[in-house]
């Protein structure tokens, strides 16, 4: 390289270009990560196929895929927005990625925007894949697509807030362990594959307030039973979103 190569010519790229580049990069990192793919793609797809094909859990009246598909969609949202995002962000924080980006031209809000977009891109891919599989298993969904969209967006907001709160306050290893544990517990106790009415009444009413239960129950109301807008579940998700995102904004530590 010759004289003048490094002559200063500083400047930030235009914001939309930075956000697009960051979104593409985050998505690429996520899709490359084997553990993340296991969590976000393989486990939901496998559970959908397995529990639809084999009658392990009594899913009530009708085809089991009609019960399972909405739950698995909720699980997909949780796996990406909560578990995946918490683990990835936790390690980015641990390895100084967030710190270094803090001196790059990319503003913090733009970084968070890119993270959100990356989560949404991943979710679109998940929803497409799981929908195709569900149709292959004979799924016949009902309901208002707008209500489904609203539930997915609010669910994403709620899980993102909780995931970022965890990633920004705990050590990376603790986040890894806790995010996986929470994933597993909510998978079992959140109405994803096991109907909540299998639990005792008292437990049921508590479990019903969890974000995963609100999302899976809301999606099921619409997609399986053709309900219009499940206001109760939307309300629970909104509360979690406000609490989670608020706490994350307040307590998140960048390094």
């Amino acid at each position: 390289m010759s004289i003048g190569t490094y002559t200063p010519r500083p400047g930030a790229a235009p914001l939309p270009r930075m956000i697009a580049a960051q979104t593409a990069f985050e998505t690429k990192m996520l899709l490359r990560n084997g553990e993340q793919l296991l969590l976000t793609v393989i486990i939901p797809a496998l559970l959908l196929v397995l529990f639809s094909a084999v009658d392990i859990v009594d899913t009530g009246e009708g085809k089991s895929v009609d019960f399972l598909a909405p739950g698995i969609l909720a699980l997909a949202v949780m796996s990406t927005a909560f578990t995946g995002q918490a683990i990835a962000t936790g390690f980015e924080r641990r390895y100084g990625v967030l710190k270094l980006l803090g001196t790059s031209p990319l503003p913090r809000w733009a970084l968070m925007t890119a993270k959100t977009l990356s989560v949404l891109v991943t979710e679109v891919l998940q929803v497409v894949l799981l929908t195709v599989i569900a149709f292959g298993l004979g799924w016949s969904p009902h309901g208002n697509p707008f209500a489904v969209f609203l539930l997915l967006v609010l669910g994403t907001a709620a899980f993102s807030g909780l995931g970022l709160l965890m990633a920004g306050t705990l050590k990376a290893e603790a986040t890894l362990a806790a995010a996986n544990l929470v994933f597993l517990l909510l998978l079992v106790g959140g109405g994803v594959i096991v109907p909540l009415d299998k639990f005792p009444d008292a437990v049921q009413s508590v479990l019903g307030l969890l974000p995963i239960s609100a999302l899976s129950d809301g999606l099921r109301d619409v997609l399986q039973h053709g309900a219009a807008i499940p206001w109760g579940n939307l309300g629970i998700l909104t509360a979690w979103a406000v609490l989670g995102l608020g706490a994350a904004a307040r307590f998140f530590r960048w390094e």
């Binding site: 390289m1 190569t5 400047g11 580049a21 990192m29 390895y95 100084g96 270094l100 803090g102 001196t103």
Partner: protein, 311 residues
């Protein structure tokens, strides 16, 4: 407010930074000239990284002021960040990213980045291929971090221990890059433990200890000031030291260290050298292997910061 008009690239006045009850930086003053290479030296825990990270906008001063390119690193962060390049002591890269794609990504965040392929070639990162960051060698990780600091064509770069863990070849290649940056008008602030690095690269040196600057100047000024120099030669054993001392200035010391090896300590200048050689001539002594040892920056550093190990 562009930096062309700024007389100083970095101005730190009375900086204080505490972590709990521990005072990491305690009234530190530092000035960095634009276009120069400034080395910040100091023992572990002296406050080097805290000072640099305050300049980068990571920490708010508890007292004092910091101006970087005339801007407040915290309040004016949005304006400042595109103009500086930062190399952290470690990390800063997605563990699953390959060197070339990480560098390309950082380049995309800037308006007029360097040619990424040429930079990869220049820093010898071409051999990293498809290896992800966590599997790169320490040296490769260091060079990638350096590349990420300069790829946006900044006016000012902060390099925190840029050659820690590098082999001698990679170290020299990094030194060359720092020199090229300076030639092209980039201001460089670096911290280092290596005195030879500061001696080789720096126009200005600031030695920090206990959270303050305890000495500053060019490497030559620091080596000249204070410390005494040494002249050594070998000759016949048992020379008359007393007679030699009589010929030398009063505050000079002379000693026969082992039979036939002599050491003279004091202000070693051409006059003193001439005095010693003419004394030898008068006494029929051939001063073999006569050598003058300038005090190195390392001697100065150890003299100033003490030789005890720090925890």
């Amino acid at each position: 407010m562009r930096s062309e008009t700024a007389q100083v690239a970095v101005q730190v006045c009375g900086l204080v930074k505490r972590y709990g009850s521990k005072t990491a930086v305690d009234g530190l003053d530092l000035e960095v000239r634009p276009g120069a290479v400034t080395a910040v030296l100091g023992p572990n825990g002296a406050g080097k990284t805290t000072t640099i990270e305050t300049c980068e906008g990571y920490r708010r001063p508890d007292a004092g002021t910091v101006r970087v390119l005339g801007l407040d690193p915290v309040a004016d962060a949005a304006e400042l960040r595109p103009r500086i390049g930062v190399m952290l002591q470690s990390g800063g890269v997605y563990s699953g990213a390959r060197a070339d794609e990480m560098l390309r990504h950082v380049a995309k965040l800037h308006a007029h980045p360097l040619d990424v392929d040429a930079l990869i070639e220049r820093l010898g990162l071409g051999g990293c291929g498809r290896t992800t960051y966590r599997r790169l060698s320490g040296g490769q990780q260091q060079r990638l971090a350096l590349a990420m600091a300069v790829v946006g064509r900044p006016e000012l770069v902060f390099l925190d221990e840029p050659t820690a863990g590098l082999d001698p070849q990679a170290r020299r290649s990094t030194w060359d890059l720092v020199r090229e940056l300076r030639t092209d008008g980039v201001t460089v602030v670096l911290t280092t433990h290596f005195m030879d690095e500061a001696e080789q690269l720096a126009d200005d040196v600031a030695i920090i200890d206990g959270g303050r600057v305890i000495a500053r100047g060019s490497p030559e000024e620091l080596c000249r000031g204070g410390a005494e120099n040494t002249l050594r030669f070998t000759g016949r054993p048992g020379l008359d030291i007393a007679s030699l001392l009589k010929a030398l200035p009063v505050d000079t010391l002379a000693a026969e260290l082992t039979p036939g090896t002599y050491r003279i300590t004091g202000k070693v200048d051409p006059q003193l050298l001439a005095t010693v050689t003419s004394w030898c001539a008068q006494h029929g002594v051939m001063p073999d292997g006569i050598s003058v040892e300038r005090h190195s920056l390392e001697d100065v550093f150890l003299e100033l910061t003490g030789k005890d190990l720090r925890s």
